[in-house]
């Protein structure tokens, strides 16, 4: 009987805590829990009042359990390596990401410089070609002029010779 009562007390404690902490989604469920809790409370009260030694034993058991929970929680915090590893890993991942971003920007800049160099080379070649073409045109024109002058001179000389012969 005592074991059942002790079990009921231990079982009712988290139930009551959970009940006070929740936002009560349904009134019917709350009413059922309240009725169950009240009944358990009544049984517990009667059992505790009937035997003071048993009450001391229950308190000691709950205290031990609570103390153990605290020890476990402290132990978990003291040895919590997972979150520390996660935090340090996150830092290195972001750092690596930024370095990769910088490296990619550097590659883009190199490509941009290469493109500018090619564009300038093409533009310089086009200008050179245009200049060469202009020079060739000018030369051709000068040659044509010279030829025309020479022809005119020959024709003039021939006409002069013909006049003299007459």
């Amino acid at each position: 009987m005592r074991a059942i009562v002790l079990f009921a007390i231990l079982a009712a404690t988290p139930l009551a805590v959970a009940d006070t902490g929740s936002a009560a989604p349904g009134a019917k469920i709350d009413a059922k829990i309240d009725a169950k809790t009240l009944a358990l409370e009544q049984t517990c009260k009667e059992a505790l009042n009937a035997d003071p030694k048993f009450a001391e034993h229950v308190v000691a058991t709950i205290n031990d359990q609570t103390a153990q929970q605290h020890i476990d929680a402290a132990d978990h915090i003291a040895k919590n390596e997972l979150h520390v590893i996660m935090a340090y890993a996150a830092m290195w991942i972001v750092a690596a990401g930024f370095v990769i971003f910088l490296w990619r920007r550097q590659q883009d800049l190199k490509a941009e410089i290469e493109m500018l160099r090619n564009d300038l080379a093409v533009a310089a070649k086009a200008e050179e070609d245009a200049k060469a073409r202009a020079d060739a045109d000018a030369k051709a024109k000068a040659d044509a002029d010279a030829k025309a002058k020479a022809k005119a001179k020959v024709v003039g000389d021939a006409k002069a010779d013909a006049k003299e012969t007459k």
């Binding site: 003291a78 935090a87 996150a90 410089i113 300038l120």
Partner: protein
């Protein structure tokens, strides 16, 4: 007299000179060839040393125990975030005032670093919150302000990327607005009820001597790391701008279409 020709008063000129020192200094370092390798090398040594010291030398904290190891990198990153934001703010003020492109190059580099370091602060802070409070996030004053500051600098980077012709000026305004939030966040530790406390009074000065040594070494290491990244990014921003200007000059001269 037009606003362009109006000469600023002596006080304003003194403030201008004072604000220009960090910009000049960083560009001077960026001109030096070996700045980035030296700073990155010292930072690498610092990483190895501080990792060893954090886990093998620094004692466990009274209440947070092993979780407190996150503090050494989390707070060092927060300091670098504040430095990046301050540099971005100063450069933005100078850019809006004098329209010097070198100020804008530094502002852009510092803003991107503020985003990177801010992300680490928020992520490691969230992981620490989970470890200490069993919650990933709490909408308390300091966390919320830090998130807003980070979002502002994410906004800066997005404006620079997508806002078009007047992006520099728009982003500079945003950076100045964001910089004003830094003192608020820094002083928020006293007003904050929930933020994990570094020392017994929430003050770094109240840490034990071993913890203090490891913490300041971490800060120094991350300062070198920060400057290596900053100068590298300033150089690439400068090169980017110079290529753009060269293209414009070549187009003006009729060399390029």
């Amino acid at each position: 007299m037009s606003p362009q020709t109006r000469r600023p008063g002596p006080l304003l000129r003194a403030v201008g000179r004072l604000l220009e020192y960090p910009i000049r200094g960083i560009h001077w370092l960026a001109d030096a060839r070996f700045t980035v390798p030296i700073a990155a090398g010292i930072a690498s040594l610092g990483f190895a040393t501080t990792l060893y010291l954090v886990f093998a030398y620094a004692p466990l904290a009274d209440q947070l125990f092993f979780n407190q190891k996150i503090f050494y990198y989390h707070v060092a990153h927060a300091f670098m975030l504040f430095l990046a934001v301050a540099l971005c703010g100063i450069s933005s003020v100078m850019y809006l005032w004098r329209r010097e492109p070198r100020s804008d190059d530094l502002a852009l580099a510092a803003a991107e670093l503020a985003v990177a370091f801010g992300a680490v602060v928020l992520i490691t802070g969230s992981i620490w919150a989970k470890a200490a409070w069993d919650l990933w996030w709490v909408w308390e004053k300091r966390l919320t302000m830090s998130l807003l500051l980070w979002l502002m600098f994410v906004g800066y980077v997005l404006v620079r990327r997508f806002a078009g012709a007047s992006a520099e000026r728009l982003a500079a305004g945003l950076a100045i607005f964001g910089t004003a939030g830094v003192p608020l966040i820094y002083t928020m530790v006293d007003a904050s009820d929930h933020h994990p406390q570094a020392g017994s009074n929430g003050n770094v000065a109240t840490l034990g001597p071993e913890m203090k040594l490891v913490f300041w070494l971490s800060v120094l290491t991350f300062a070198f790391w920060f400057f290596a990244l900053l100068i590298s990014r300033v150089n690439s921003a400068r090169a980017d701008r110079e290529i753009r200007e060269l293209r414009e000059h070549a187009a003006d001269a009729g060399l390029l279409m």
